[in-house]
Symmetry: C2
């Protein structure tokens, strides 16, 4: 005969599987000696047995329940169905995971026609007693007998009409006595039997109802959705009722052990005297702050303070405690870890570490990585957000929230910003020529492109809020108008953009900023010590580099050099270079670019100082640097001093069917070696200059898009030749390394060979994902919705690494690379470098670092620590 | 003391490493008892020793040479420097691999001022003797002492001028005696020493010269190019001279044991009486056919016939034999496997198998796979080809040769063909809409696109000659003109196209066709029995299917269904389908397409009969079915009954940045399941119809572009549902299988999971190569030249599988697939399915079949047999 019923004092919190979450917690509190109303738990095993035995409660189970009730009666000095001191209990479900859809609570079980009067006498409140009774009948009727709620509600409404009152509370004791009779009649009509007058009958039926609710449709759907096993079953908790409304020395309340909004170490909550929990919820009386209890019931307050501290210490976390005072005696009804804001979460763990309550490891593991992003960006005021009309929803491409006036091109946006306007740049998609407009904008919105589109990548890099790929918008840049389902928006109109949710609103919404937070800074400083993986940042400008280092990045994992060619004089020279007929014509623009790049790299090295810095050589295809529209072609041809048809012809030559798979990356270096040679010359010269200023620079030169050892060999030879030339002329030595992106499947499967030539590897997960899946991230929008909807893709593989597919290739590349060079440094610099789930995988396969956009550095740092601590 | 010199009778053909190819062969013949002039070989080891010992011949080597000379003197009854009977020898190099750039031959070594007169006496020909002597001095001077050839040639020219004669042969004995003196003076002037009069001195110097020639620049370059190891060294062959010009019972000739042009089993060759080899080469006297020797010297002829048969039997191959007759005595100077035409090669091995000379395995292994293609396609007459001006060279996309008039579009081409013109279709690139023009053309030429472009694939499928990607041409279809380096070509002008070399010529060139060949058919029939791999064909029409089966294909590995949508009514309905607003509008065109497809599949199944047939569901993106130019859009919009701007808008919606990575293949089936459902309905209905006609059809349904198990699962479920509906309605059962293309890297690394859903795999190496390398085959032309030139790519990976990269993924997929299903049927249906090197790899990894275009089936059959026999 197994134990199917546990008294609270017989269990503990490790018995969650058998007693459910709530039962285990009540047992734990009881055994801590806390004043918990006594009770017992019917186990999940009993529930499973019930279904195994064709939904019948076994005699054994009933016997164990009776024994538990006897024990309860003894402790409370009350009895089921007693005239003087009737025992009343609550019945609550309690599965292992908290689950909506399950039967929740039946209060006041044990009341009947007789004991309702005893209760009225005891509490000296007939009205309340009958109110409890009619509620019991309704609750019981609904959940145990499935009587439609409407039947009871209609009767109540009818009564209120007859009595000509507005609120339930305006009904008198007599009214409620009559209502109780009506409810009993409804019960009789619907069930063809009288409302049970024996407390034990009520109890056993209620327990069965809890069991059955385990299989109700809502619970099933929830389980399927969250992959909770059906075989777990639910437990049932039976607990003696206590009454906060037993007079002026009674009361009820809820309190957090620390402030859940700020994290401040001070009790935070509220209470009502002579009231039950329901009264607090109903909102008719205004509760008082918990601090006021000190004056009103000093002993109780002191006891509560002590218990709160004890609970916090025991659970090593902020507690959210429900309590009731019955005739001056304090009872704790529930305690759980308190929900809190991101800011509070950090403040609390930092304080707790400093108080010696928890270790740093525990503190780190208790903070969810995504929570961090809420500390870095403004968010909308919730109340105002709800009141503002929604325009459309796109992809949440870069977090933050902002309001501003709509502009459609960089020039207008810049002009407006210079006038002091808050600007939001809206375009079909952005290109590098929009950079100046993007820099001045509060937010960026595009109607096309995904999470890794130009707009998204640049916005994340700058920490600017961005909604991308919002297909519900039709954006006409020329006509300066956005069409959306309900209307149109013109230049200068105000919209609000939530980059954390992808939502766009019409009109302004005030924002809140978490702001500077010393606790957060302290927390970030702890992380590197607990992580095997270093965190670097993808950053192209001194400003971005500084942001990343401030957030705790150990270095820069990706400087994209193509951004250096996209503005004014640079672009002019780049175009001259592309349009040159031969090597001789290329010399002039190359010399100009060399000068500009040297200055760029000096600024970059001055920002990175001694930190590691990996610079990627030119990656995009050449046609990206040339104009696209007819008008642009005419303008640019003028600048270049050639005829528009000549320019068009060259553009035609460079055009590609699949540019993603075309003549780009290191393939350019094979056909035009002088571009990379110019880049390394600039890089080495500036590294020498900055090294002489006192910061020893060791550039890590990264070649993109390598597919074979021989390819890297050929390019590396030309780079080294140029570098050694520079060093010879300058008569200095300088350490540098030459490595490669691993972003082509072929590079993964031949990584052992490539490692012979490479000083380091850095996975480019964006391109690697495109090629491994055969997905173009520019085109995936056409079908990714259906793929996610039908569950073919569990997630967007450009946001979180596809561990089975892309991950397999990464695993192969790491193994093969380290076969050749056991200490090969390997990192990742794709977008998923900042994704916690992906980081756990990168830790598992043994990468040395991840690199992500500056504003994701804190999240990545935390995710890396988690991965290391969990390993 | 190791043996550095071997007499011919001491060696054999297995000693090629030590004796070189020629030496081993002479030894072999000697030991067969054949009448070979005696001699000996100085080993390659001796050569290596020479270089090891600072280019000095060791006393030991000199001693061994002297002993060998003594033996030679004895056998010939002649002596070095003898007054009466001087021993004359030839000295020839002989490395393991025949190598241009090495010193070739010194004849008549041993002649000096004294022995030249003995020779004159013996041959009774003073003129000839002095001619030999002056040639020895020149040859010796050039190769041993590096005296410039011009010095000797100038002296000769001067003499001829003085004597007022045109030809060397017009010089008298006296003239040549004088010339000999002049040559000796030249020798003296240049070397500051007299021409050596001791035969042994001549010999040792000549041997050293052969050794040294191993390291001359031309030989070095050749070795580097062909990756021949420097450490092999060269051997030196010394052989007694025999003279075919010793009178009317002497002579010299060359003969093949069988006809090298036709393979006929009959001696084939020619001879000259009283002549040396040189006289045959000089072409002054006309040699007689070998058959005439029978009448002139019956005994010698009979002996030669016998020896020829003996050699053929011994070497198990046709022999190309050089012989000399000295005073009625037959000598064999050399034998080697005879070069032959493709037709002869096949005829010979088939005859030899039937004669019992060789086994079928030997016959199969002796035929190079690429040779086969020469039997399948016409080739240009060589002499005329050389005389015709070359226009340009493109990619040899589909073999064959043809001349015809240039046309630039399908309509004009068709019209001209109907008038009986021979037509060549020339376009920038072809698209499915050009099909009708391609069908009527003798050859197809494009200026863009690679070996796997539309033009190339379709042409190979039809067996039509094609040159693709000829970038030197600028083709203006509208203006009907081709610009090339030297001029322009207009509609109706005649050009000639060689699809085997990629060359285009201006004007007509006659062609030769190997034609029907019973031996070839017999040969092909042998092959399947010797191959573990089956050969199927990629064929989309009943005609192509028949061609493939006639060539011995075991079935059809790829029926592409997209070609079924590209003509007339089909295209109209396909466009209606694409332009439909919703499922309801799609119903009409779907019903029409169902009817058409059902007819198509019936025709296909009637052609395949019981042979295996794999049908791929629709693969290309939808925009391929829509018009491209403004004019076409206007026309098609009219046909569709919509406005051009509506059509343009839909085209815009479907446009993709990287169509290769876009919304195509099975991704269409996820968003529009009804297309694949229509296709399987048509397929199953027609399989039922044809099965009822007596051919049991078991369709293999192939889903393209699968990237994950779940994707295949979702699509397969919808296909099976539709199929079972059809079978239920028709009240029949039918076997069918559903498998997948493996053409995405992700499918390779998750093949274990995909195999759970797939009945078979078929590798699509074109797409797999594109994705593994990140190469677009439409764009690769921009840099592939440089990549091949710099050795970064050893070959075009779309023509021969990249075994290291793409092969690794294939290996992984095969292993993983068979982990799940040990007997999983796996094939390959990409272009490389017909490439011998790739086939060897496919055999190694254990594929069940390869599938290639019909005209490559014979090559694939042979390559599969080779791979199996060699394993």
């Amino acid at each position: 005969m197994s134990t199917l019923v546990y008294l609270f004092e017989e269990g503990n919190r490790s018995m969650k599987g058998l007693l459910g979450g709530k039962g285990a917690n009540l047992a734990e509190m009881t055994n801590l000696g806390l004043p918990v109303p006594p009770g017992f738990t019917i186990t999940t095993a009993a529930c499973n047995l019930y279904f195994k035995e064709a939904e019948k409660m076994s005699p054994d189970l009933i016997k164990q329940i009776r024994i538990a009730i006897l024990s309860l009666e003894e402790k409370m000095n009350r009895k089921f169905d007693d005239h003087e001191n009737p025992l009343l209990v609550s019945v609550r479900s309690g599965s292992v995971f908290s689950m909506p859809g399950m039967m929740d609570t039946i209060l006041n079980l044990g009341l009947n026609d007789d004991s309702v009067q005893s209760l009225a006498k005891q509490l000296n409140d007939q009205r309340f007693a009958y109110d409890c009774y009619r509620r019991l009948i309704q609750m019981f009727g609904e959940v145990v007998k499935e009587i439609p709620k409407a039947k009871f509600e209609n009767a109540l409404e009818k009564l209120k009409k007859a009595k000509n009152v507005q609120n339930d509370t305006d009904l008198t004791a007599t009214d409620l006595m009559a209502l109780t009779e009506t409810f009993k009649e409804i019960y009789q009509q619907y069930t063809k039997e009288a409302f049970p007058q024996q407390a034990e009958d009520q109890l056993l039926l209620a327990v069965e109802a809890v069991f059955k609710s385990w299989f109700n449709p809502r619970a099933k759907i929830y389980r399927d959705l969250h992959q909770i096993s059906e075989s777990l079953g639910t437990a049932v908790n039976i607990q003696a009722m206590v009454f906060g409304n037993a007079g002026e020395t009674s009361g009820t309340g809820v309190a957090f052990t620390r402030n859940p909004a700020t994290g401040e170490k001070k009790l935070f909550g509220e209470f009502l005297l002579n009231a039950q929990g329901e009264d607090v919820v109903a909102g008719i009386r205004t509760p008082e702050p918990i601090a006021d209890l000190k004056a009103k019931m000093p002993a109780v307050y002191q006891q509560f303070e002590k218990l709160a501290a004890q609970l916090e210490k025991h659970y090593q976390d902020v507690q959210d405690i429900e309590f009731t005072i019955e005739n001056g005696k304090l009872y704790l009804l529930q305690t759980r870890n308190g929900k809190r804001t991101a800011q509070a979460a950090i403040q609390i763990v930092v304080d707790m570490v400093n108080e010696g309550l928890i270790t740093k490891e525990e503190a780190i593991l208790s903070i969810d990585a995504p929570l961090i992003s809420k500390l870095l960006h403004p968010i909308f005021d919730e109340v105002n957000e709800k009141k503002t009309p929604l325009i459309a929803t796109g992809l949440p491409a870069s977090p933050g929230a902002a309001s501003g006036k709509v502009y459609f091109d960089a020039v207008s946006a810049k002009a407006a910003a210079e006038q002091g306007e808050k600007v939001i740049l809206v375009r079909s998609e952005t290109s590098p020529e929009d950079i100046e407009g993007m820099v001045v904008s509060e937010a960026i919105v595009t109607s096309r492109g995904g999470m890794t589109s130009h707009a998204a990548v640049v916005a994340r890099g700058m920490g600017t809020c961005c909604v991308a790929g919002c297909g519900q918008l039709i954006v006409h840049e020329q006509e300066k108008v956005i069409f959306y389902d309900q209307g149109e928006i013109h230049e200068g109109e105000v919209i609000s953009v939530d980059g954390g949710t992808g939502k766009l609103y019409l009109g302004e919404i005030p924002t809140q900023v978490a702001g500077e937070n010393p606790a957060f800074k302290e927390f970030l400083q702890w992380l590197p010590a607990f992580s095997d993986l270093k965190v670097r940042a993808n950053a192209d400008t001194p400003r971005d580099i500084q942001t990343a280092l401030d957030f705790g990045a150990s270095g820069i994992g990706l400087v994209r050099t193509e951004h250096m060619f996209f503005e004014g004089k640079r672009l002019f020279n780049m175009r001259k270079l592309i349009l040159a007929k031969d090597f001789v014509e290329r010399k002039g623009p190359l010399a100009n670019l060399l000068k500009i790049q040297t200055q760029d790299f000096e600024a970059i090295f001055r920002a990175t100082k001694e930190h590691a810095v990996t610079i990627r050589l030119l990656d995009p295809p050449l046609h990206e640097f040339l104009p696209k529209t007819e008008d642009e072609i005419v303008t640019v041809a003028g600048q270049m001093g050639i005829r528009p048809d000549q320019l068009s012809a060259r553009i035609g030559e460079l055009e590609e069917v699949n540019p993603m798979l075309g003549h780009r990356g290191c393939r350019l270096a094979v056909t035009y070696p002088e571009i990379y040679e110019m880049q390394v010359e600039a890089m080495i010269k500036s590294a020498i200059t900055v090294s002489k200023e006192g910061h020893q620079i060791t550039p890590e030169i990264m070649v993109p898009l390598i597919g074979s050892k021989k390819e890297l060999q050929v390019i590396k030879a030309s780079l080294i030749k140029k570098i050694e030339e520079v060093l010879t002329v300058e008569r200095v030595t300088l350490n540098y390394t030459i490595g490669t992106m691993i972003e082509i499947p072929r590079a993964c499967v031949t990584a052992d060979q490539i490692a012979e030539e490479a000083d380091f590897f850095s996975f480019g997960t964006n391109d690697l994902t495109q090629l491994t899946y055969g997905f173009s991230r520019d085109d995936i929008a056409k079908f990714v919705g259906e793929y996610l909807g039908k569950g073919i893709l569990p997630q967007d593989p450009f946001q979180s690494l596809d561990i089975e597919g892309v991950g397999s290739l990464i695993r192969i590349a790491v193994e093969k690379g380290r076969q050749t060079k056991p200490n090969l440094k390997i990192g990742v610099c794709g977008e998923v470098g900042g994704d916690p789930a992906s980081i756990a995988f990168f830790k598992e396969v043994g990468l040395n670092y991840v690199s992500c956009s500056p504003y994701r550095v804190p999240i990545a740092l935390l995710a890396c620590s988690h991965a290391t601590l969990k390993a």
